[in-house]
């Protein structure tokens, strides 16, 4: 199939950017979206033009590096799918595809489709961990965790930190991302000791790094490639209220 791509091109953080049009010819329906872009880039390089710069790593849907808004939806809108796992069979011959970077105040564009997501790292640095003594590996069964609790924590831990929730949020808020880590750690015995401190520090870091406030649109859950539920935001809100009285 042949496609028309409208791709956001921007030389640097301070440079103005704009959508540029490219043709993707003879695209196989079995190709992934990133493989299609690779071929477009091959053509651009052969003709002496700058290739389209985009983030990618594992190409297995688990690393959270790929970050493109495709036709107005982060990761392209296929349920629980990252860009790298989106296949060209989802498109039709002659389709026009708009490809843009994550857009939020906290995500400055580095080049083309790559944004700086280190603000998310700073939220994690503020409390997305448990403090523990180093030493020998602890016995896996030393602290017993009931299965439903372990399942709940694992559902929250499924977050790959890609930032689609922030890109989709009309407020550029990082509540789903932050709440996934807060809920995961607050539900486990190892994380409960620092739960109050963690929720305060992580939400403060969210605010300090230019993310907006959650107003419960739930766009984040709809765009999340891992289906992280907004129930974790409710859990964060409960943890925050508990922290207020500590």
């Amino acid at each position: 199939m042949n496609l028309i791509l409208h791709v956001w091109r921007q030389k640097g953080p301070k440079e103005p950017g704009k959508l540029e049009q490219y043709e993707a010819k003879n695209v196989s329906p079995d190709q992934s979206f990133l493989e299609m872009l690779d071929e477009v880039n091959d053509t651009l390089i052969k003709t002496g033009k700058d290739p389209i710069v985009f983030d990618h790593d594992c190409r297995e849907g688990i690393c959270g590096m790929c970050s493109q808004v495709i036709n107005g939806v982060p990761h392209g809108g296929q349920e629980r799918t990252t860009v790298c796992q989106l296949h060209m069979r989802k498109f039709k011959d002659g389709d026009a595809i708009y490809i843009e970077p994550w857009r939020a105040l906290a995500f400055p564009i580095i080049k083309d489709l790559i944004v700086d997501r280190s603000a998310m790292e700073r939220i994690i640095q503020a409390g997305g961990y448990t403090s523990c003594h180093t030493g020998g590996v602890a016995d896996g069964n030393a602290i017993l965790v009931p299965k439903p609790v372990a399942d709940y924590a694992m559902d929250a831990a499924e977050c790959i930190g890609c930032g689609a929730c922030i890109a989709a949020c009309p407020n550029g808020s990082a509540m789903l991302f932050t709440s996934a880590k807060v809920a995961q750690l607050a539900s486990l015995p190892q994380g409960q000791a620092e739960a109050a401190e963690r929720v305060c520090n992580m939400t403060d870091a969210m605010q300090a790094n230019g993310f907006g406030n959650c107003s419960n649109h739930y766009e984040c859950q709809a765009a999340c490639p891992k289906g992280i539920s907004v129930k974790f935001i409710a859990k964060l809100n409960r943890e925050y209220q508990k922290a207020l009285f500590k």
Partner: protein, 221 residues
């Protein structure tokens, strides 16, 4: 104080003040519905209500405080949210956000304007349509005042539009306050979302029924 400055803290204050205002909306509707019992109903209710001035003023002060906090933080959070999202997508497809959720600040602003007008009209009696008088039992004739004012189609229409704003504001506001208070999980999210819309629609229709009944001539002087 974290609750006054934090991202989540300020939302909790929005939620608590929003809940107080929803309780007021319910109490006010129950009070208003005494109009269906004629002058004897609403005039007696109004006299009873105003027979305890300290309680009335305490209630008014709590409501004023709740509205002020709700408006201040609503505007502050909205401005921060606009700044956090440059909103420059060439193509953007909404997946879940609704007209109501995206326009909370505007439906809220229109409701705020309506509250000022409504107080000027029926509490301060400062609008030209208001007829102030006493009934046969020497009580303030609220029935005559309301029926006369709502007899003007434009005044009734303004009221109905304000109630549509109330519906939009609460249809997102009710599920939103439950989420912000943390009283939510996977099972309750769809229930609260639908329940919020149903409760808001019932409130809107109940409030609108008063001018409709008056305009239809079913309640007359």
């Amino acid at each position: 104080m974290r609750i006054l400055t934090g991202s989540v803290g300020r939302k909790i204050l929005m939620s608590i003040t929003g809940q107080l205002l929803i309780i007021f909306v319910l109490i006010h509707l129950i009070g208003n519905s005494t109009i269906f019992f004629g002058p004897a109903g609403i005039n007696a209710y109004a006299e009873h209500l105003h027979s305890l001035p300290p309680l009335v003023w305490l209630f008014r002060l709590v409501m004023l405080a709740a509205v002020s906090v709700h408006i201040c933080y609503g505007v502050m959070l909205t401005l921060e949210n606009k700044a956090a999202n440059p909103g420059a997508y060439a193509v953007k497809r909404q997946l879940k956000a609704s007209f109501a959720s995206e326009n909370m600040v505007w439906t809220g602003a229109l409701l705020g304007c309506f509250i000022v007008y409504h107080l000027a009209q029926f509490t301060i009696h400062g609008t030209p349509d208001v007829v102030v008088g006493m009934d046969a039992a020497n009580r303030v004739d609220v029935f005559k005042m309301v029926v006369t004012s709502f007899g003007h189609a434009l005044i009734s229409l303004t009221y109905m539009i304000a109630m549509v704003m109330l519906f939009l504001h609460l249809s997102h506001g009710i599920p939103s306050f439950l989420q912000t208070m943390g009283w939510n999980n996977d099972k309750t999210i769809p229930v609260f979302s639908t329940g919020g819309k149903v409760i808001s629609a019932v409130l809107m229709l109940a409030y609108i029924s008063i001018p409709v009944v008056i305009l239809a001539g079913l309640l007359k002087l």
